[in-house]
């Protein structure tokens, strides 16, 4: 598979590989995909008390574009509020990395990973999240 430069950059120097403490109440963990399908992404986000994502880590079993998509979203979500992070779409990821059509599912998986990580954090903090209901900001493209 011939990849674009951005996939190769993220693949060769992946950002934010690692593990956060999944038992920390401020950490949300999203595990998506399936080994039988050839890709599994684990995205972890650490959310500060003001509702901002202060850290993000990933580990991915998958092809080059799955690894690149995960690396990219860890960079994108850092510094965003949870609601802002929810607006990241697979199309943005696919476009940024110039993914070929056969690799679009990697970007879908990365979007799912963000949503799963946030859902996990929300579940843990069901009471606390009542206070952080802000209007999602429109992303200017």
């Amino acid at each position: 598979m011939a990849y674009g430069d951005k996939v190769l950059q993220h693949y060769e120097n992946p950002k934010n590989v690692g593990t956060l403490d999944k038992n920390d109440p401020n950490v949300g963990t999203g595990l998506v995909g399936a080994p039988a399908c050839g890709d599994v992404m684990r995205l972890q986000i650490k959310i500060s008390d003001d509702g901002k994502i202060q850290d993000a880590k990933f580990k991915t079993f998958g092809c080059g574009s799955a690894i690149a998509s995960s690396s990219l979203v860890t960079e994108w979500v850092k510094g965003k509020t949870v609601d802002e992070a929810m607006t990241i779409k697979n199309t943005h990821i696919a476009q940024e990395l110039s993914l070929p059509p056969v690799k679009i599912h990697c970007s879908v998986l990365a979007e799912d990973a963000i949503k799963a990580a946030i859902a996990d954090w929300r579940k843990k903090n069901a009471a606390k999240t009542q206070t952080s209901q802000t209007q999602p900001e429109q992303r200017a493209e």
Binding site: Y3, P35, D39, V108
Partner: protein
């Protein structure tokens, strides 16, 4: 000095041996005659060269030159063998037996025949990739006209019990086609010993040029084949079309080299494969060898590196040319059907890499590849959530994964 990238995909194709190119050169330049031209010296010399190549190729498989039909490659040879026999013997029966790990040129040919009304049995294989003789025996009916089983598998290198298959077919009066592309020139293969009736061979898997192959067709007792290409009646009417003289000359030379050097080369590539295999298994855990531990092509090593996706590993070892059974390397998004037929789970099939060691690989290259692969697998496993979970003792098969 080590020259990068290193070519370790000799099951896909092999480089042209310089001695083969040398033999071909006159026929790419001054000796351009059409081998079918009977009226002048240009044609006579081309024909003479083709006839010599026929003998060289036949000698490699223990046949005679007159039994060689030249084709454009092994895909055409397989098509011609199976379609040609099915057509010619259709009054006798309509049943064909093959196996699930055959090359697509055999499987897709059989599927087309099924759509035309033939019946095809696709035999399963054991975990090591070999068919069971009992299952073959049980599949034979009084309508079976052909058994098509390969000599050695292109992905996992497993060598089928071809002599047993040939003996059974002879006993039952059924024709035996053997796609011997991967094994011929690497391991001894004799049409009399195997009792084969038709055999597919390709030049570019044995250091010859691409675009030329052959079908060996038994003359005693005579096997009949209906042509799939009509025209000037070349190759005793079985395959019309002007002969690819330079390609055929190169094929002949490649076959002669393979015949005379096979014993030494098989030992050498087998030793290099063993060296790579031993190094990988000594330095990494969670590896699975795919294919048969002994009955395999000497230079073929197919390994599943659990928790590391095959395409990602190929990108990580970009200085080594190999191939993978991962879905991500194909347009279909399905992992290797050969590994699946051997009962390899989908998740492990996604992590498989095929190393194909050939004539021109060196000890230095194999040492480098061993170290490089170990280092990159370790790096990717550090990035793999599955490896982390496995180390924590989590049973990955117990997790409810959301298939996508």
């Amino acid at each position: 000095m080590l020259k990068l990238p290193i070519y370790l995909d000799n099951n896909a194709t092999t480089p042209l041996d310089p001695r083969v190119l040398e033999a071909m050169m006159p026929y790419l330049t001054t000796e351009f005659g059409n081998a079918a031209s009977r009226s002048h010296a240009f044609g006579w010399r081309a024909e003479e060269a083709v006839e010599e190549a026929r003998e060289q190729i036949a000698a490699l498989v223990g046949g005679v030159g007159k039994e060689i039909v030249f084709t454009s490659g092994a895909t055409e040879s397989n098509n011609l063998a199976i379609k040609g026999i099915a057509e010619f013997y259709k009054e006798k029966g309509d049943h064909i037996i093959t196996c699930r790990t055959e090359h697509k040129a055999v499987l897709d040919t059989c599927k087309r025949l099924e759509r035309q009304g033939y019946r095809v049995t696709y035999l399963p294989v054991e975990k090591d990739g070999r068919i069971s003789m009992d299952e073959l025996r049980a599949a034979i009916t009084d309508k079976t006209i052909l058994v098509s089983i390969m000599f050695a598998n292109n992905e996992i290198g497993t060598v089928q019990p071809v002599a047993e298959i040939g003996a059974l077919c002879r006993e039952k009066g059924i024709l035996f086609h053997c796609d011997a592309v991967q094994g011929v020139g690497k391991l001894p293969f004799d049409v009399e010993q195997v009792k084969a009736d038709v055999v597919s061979i390709s030049a570019h898997k044995m250091y010859g040029p691409k675009g030329v192959g052959a079908l060996w067709v038994r003359r005693k007792p005579r096997v009949r084949i209906a042509p799939i290409i009509d025209g000037g009646g070349h190759e005793r009417g079985m395959r019309s079309g002007t002969l690819n003289v330079p390609g055929i000359v190169g094929f002949g030379k490649a076959a002669e080299l393979a015949r005379t050097e096979m014993a030494e080369e098989g030992l050498r590539t087998g030793r290099l494969r063993k060296k790579l295999q031993d190094y990988l298994f000594a330095h990494l855990d969670h590896l699975e060898l795919n294919g048969h531990p002994e009955h395999r092509l000497p230079g073929n090593l197919n390994v599943s590196f659990a928790f590391v996706e095959g395409e990602a590993l190929m990108m990580a070892i970009k200085n080594v040319a190999v191939s993978s059974g991962s879905a991500c390397t194909s347009a279909s998004l399905e992992p290797s059907y050969v590994l699946r037929a051997c009962g390899v789970s989908e998740d492990l099939a996604h992590t498989s890499i095929r190393f194909g060691i050939g004539r021109f690989n060196t000890d230095e290259e194999i040492d480098f590849v061993g170290r490089y692969v170990v280092e990159q697998v370790q790096k990717l496993r550090e990035m793999s959530p599955l490896y982390e979970m496995a180390k924590e003792g989590i049973d990955l098969s117990k997790i409810e994964w959301a298939a996508h």
